[in-house]
Symmetry: C2
Subunit: 431 residues, 2 copies
């Protein structure tokens, strides 16, 4: 019995069924969960549209595409919805083909064998919690005026002005996207830096890029209240001036959907962010109850959810499996251009450098500088990690992760030769 | 004494000078040579502009950017010329800083110690030929109507219709660029496939993409004559119908600039394409005369020219050097999207697949499919080569080359995890 039909639940259910298990999957909303309906997929499509529009407007600024015309958000939204609908349908039919029973309902966990669904009690030998997570809402006066990442996709117009509360990856991505589409954007964060999960030096450069693109960044400030006047939302802070904007996005983190599963979860061991602790068999502290995806204390990313989902099926019904190696997981934030990282970047011998992409300053009025760092063990030269800022960084990083997996050394990068002109040649082939 | 101030000559001269040698560099035209003035640099900038414009026009087709306005080629050309001028100047001053004497003149080689420049005879202990190459012109009636890759950058308008003779990388790139800018384009090739240097299966997919983008491809035909009537150029072939177009680009290959160096070169050993054979010290068959870059029988690519140039300086004046390992050289053709390749892709165990990039069909009316193949040794799993078609392929391939250099195995790709949503995740992290 799998509770939750997102990336984790679907992959676990499909694989388990293909291994001969009798599988029931319970989903209260839409198949595909966060990633497909209100996460990676619509976000990346908006990012791609924003990228094209930003690039085109840069050509406009320098007179190459002198007269661009408008951008139609509604047309974009329609095309994205159609795509999402198509993915949902393909999930529905592949689950059906795999022989998985799908129930559309809220599930309540009763014990390690039983679940209540629409008043009926169902039981199974193994229960898998794949309930994902939800945006955390700030608890301050006027909080009803906050939007979350779910609401963003429903906005009917490009914000005239947008305040993003929270400088994590989701906040920085939407700030970049709406800036590209023409919004005035300000990001505020309670901490003293953006993108805490990423290398500090690289994030310094990323912040310079955000600023160069016209995004205002305010650090070490906390919003204290929101109020609405004359069509604008005024946000007050614990220090510094208030901001008056048309839209406020709250992106202060996500919290796993566990409590709603019922009181039985109270006794289960949790991590600091509320995710369920799991063993290397993905079992929670309640034996026979497993957790995968954002519900588990792993990394809250789709590929981890998907691969752990399959691994759990292999553990329960197949020949066992190796879980995702979290040290070799690439991650990225889709800025313009993206920042991407893998492994350990802050201790060791770093080879790093700033460079200007060839088109920057030619096909745009402003120049932006990008950055890359490759980190290796000082004694052995063994590669330990990397962070890149560049147009292809989110794809490149997967191959760097593969180099790490292969035990590559920094000298291997000098033996290979990159394509000219690319950004990769700033590192690969250099001595 | 270095003859030729392109990628190879400049890097060799600069390095040799920094190693304490007394260096003179002779350049008859512009510093930077082919790459900077009429190759990689202006080509890539036109490609980037074409990419933005193609993407924007796709948004227009689906109603997201409903009214784009015109594209101003003249504005693009001015910005590119300014960039080229800046690069030339930076080369001039870095050569000056390095203490290299630069002579602006034609050089004639007299023997292994002497060169004639503007009627004067100069001598040096070591002579380095770094004279690059030039486009080959077809020798058929009406050949004056042919343009080469040099002329393309001088065109004052986007061709209404363009015939490209030759389906190598230069032909396919300009075909793609001008198609993106709105030309009607046809590529013809005498052989039975395009892009001979690239993996055959991958090139099949690349050709489908060209065709889907509206480029006509005619294989196994040879042009027999050109004639001009009523503002159009009519090209006749040995089989099939004639084509009547406004512009004809001849891109049938490049030939090294050796003969013009004088009769002394006649006795030097040459490869089939006319390039000078060199030893592993980059010495030609005439002792004391060295060759680097496109003049040498290596690979006619800028990074090879640059790195071999430095290596030669290290061999002559430093502590020796390893030449570029040609098996680990990445290469790419900038289509939309690019195709990129490294190593051996056609014998072994291949993991390959076709996929549709997320934005394709959403931010465009047509869907295009991209392709990737990773090749490994059937017995050991050791990676042997890869070919990718995808928006980031030209950058990604450098890291795959690094994986090859590190002796990576196909299982290493399964241990690593890619970013979602990217194209790299179709391979990295898959089992
Ligand atoms: C804006 C945004 C952008 C993101 N971008 C990326 C990205 O680019 N790359 C990336 O890797 N990750 C990204 N993520 C994270 C990614 O979406 C998640 O890691 C992933 O979706 C987790 O999958 P899951 O299956 O664990 O949970 P979910 O996809 O959230 O699925 C859980 C499902 O369980 C259902 N459910 C919950 N409780 C119950 C219940 N009691 N009964 C029945 N059903 C229930 C929910 O309705 C939901 O459908 C993004 C997230 C957001 C919010
Ligand atoms: C359209 C096009 C696109 C290309 N795109 C790419 C690409 O994307 N990536 C890539 O890696 N490669 C690309 N190339 C190939 C790349 O440009 C060459 O491999 C590289 O420039 C070779 O450098 P070189 O120094 O050997 O020769 P060159 O750059 O050609 O320099 C030779 C110089 O020698 C001078 N010279 C010649 N004879 C004499 C003489 N007798 N006396 C004095 N001076 C002389 C010439 O004027 C010239 O400046 C491209 C080439 C073309 C034509």
């Amino acid at each position: 019995m799998v509770i939750g039909g997102g990336s984790a639940g679907i992959s676990c259910a499909t694989r388990a069924s293909s291994l001969g298990a009798k599988v029931c999957l319970i989903e209260r909303k839409n198949l595909g969960g966060t990633c497909v309906n209100r996460g990676c997929v619509p976000k990346k499509l908006m990012w791609e549209a924003g990228r094209v529009w930003k690039d085109a407007r840069e050509l406009e600024t320098v007179g190459i595409a002198p007269n661009l015309g408008p951008f139609d958000l509604q047309a974009l939204k329609t095309r994205i919805s159609d795509k999402i609908e198509a993915i949902r349908e393909s999930y529905a039919s592949s689950l059906e083909d795999a022989g998985v029973t799908v129930l559309r309902a809220d599930a309540e966990l009763l014990d390690d064998k039983q679940v209540r669904v629409k008043g009926r009690i169902l039981s199974a030998k193994n229960i898998v919690l794949a309930t994902g997570g939800s945006p955390i809402l700030l608890d301050i006066p006027g909080k009803d005026l906050l939007s979350t990442s779910r609401d963003v996709f429903e906005w009917t117009e490009i914000p005239k002005s947008l305040l993003v509360i929270g400088g994590g990856y989701i906040g920085c991505e939407f700030a970049s996207i709406f800036r590209a589409l023409g919004s005035d954007v300000c990001i505020v964060d309670a901490g003293d830096r953006l993108l805490e999960q990423f290398d500090e030096v690289a994030v310094g450069h990323a912040q310079d890029i955000l600023t160069a693109r016209g995004i205002k960044v305010r650090l070490s400030v906390e919003p204290t209240s929101l109020s609405k006047t004359a069509g604008k939302i005024t946000v007050e802070f614990d220090s510094g001036p208030a901001e008056a904007v048309t839209h406020v996005l709250c992106a202060v983190g996500r919290s796993p959907n566990i409590d709603e599963l019922g009181p039985v979860t109270e006794s289960m061991e949790r991590a600091e962010n509320g995710a369920l602790k799991v063993t290397d068999r993905l079992e929670t502290s309640a034996s026979g109850i497993y957790a995968i995806g954002d519900a588990a204390d792993r990394l809250p990313l789709t590929p981890v959810a998907t691969r752990d989902g399959e691994a759990l099926a292999d553990i329960l019904f197949g020949e066992g499996a190796r879980l995702v190696d979290l040290d070799l997981v690439s991650s990225a934030t889709f800025l313009y251009p993206p920042i991407a990282q893998v492994g350990e970047t802050e201790s060791g011998t770093a080879f790093d450098g700033i460079t200007t992409p060839l088109p920057s300053g030619v096909l745009s009025a402003e120049t932006i500088e990008v950055y890359g760092k490759i980190n290796s063990d000082s004694a052995t030269g063994q590669l330990k990690g990397a962070v890149l800022i560049g147009h292809s960084a989110a794809d490149e990083i997967a191959w760097i992760a593969s180099c790490l997996a292969a035990g590559g050394r920094s000298e291997d990068l000098t033996k290979a030769t990159a394509v000219h002109p690319t950004l990769a040649e700033e590192v690969v082939g250099r001595r």
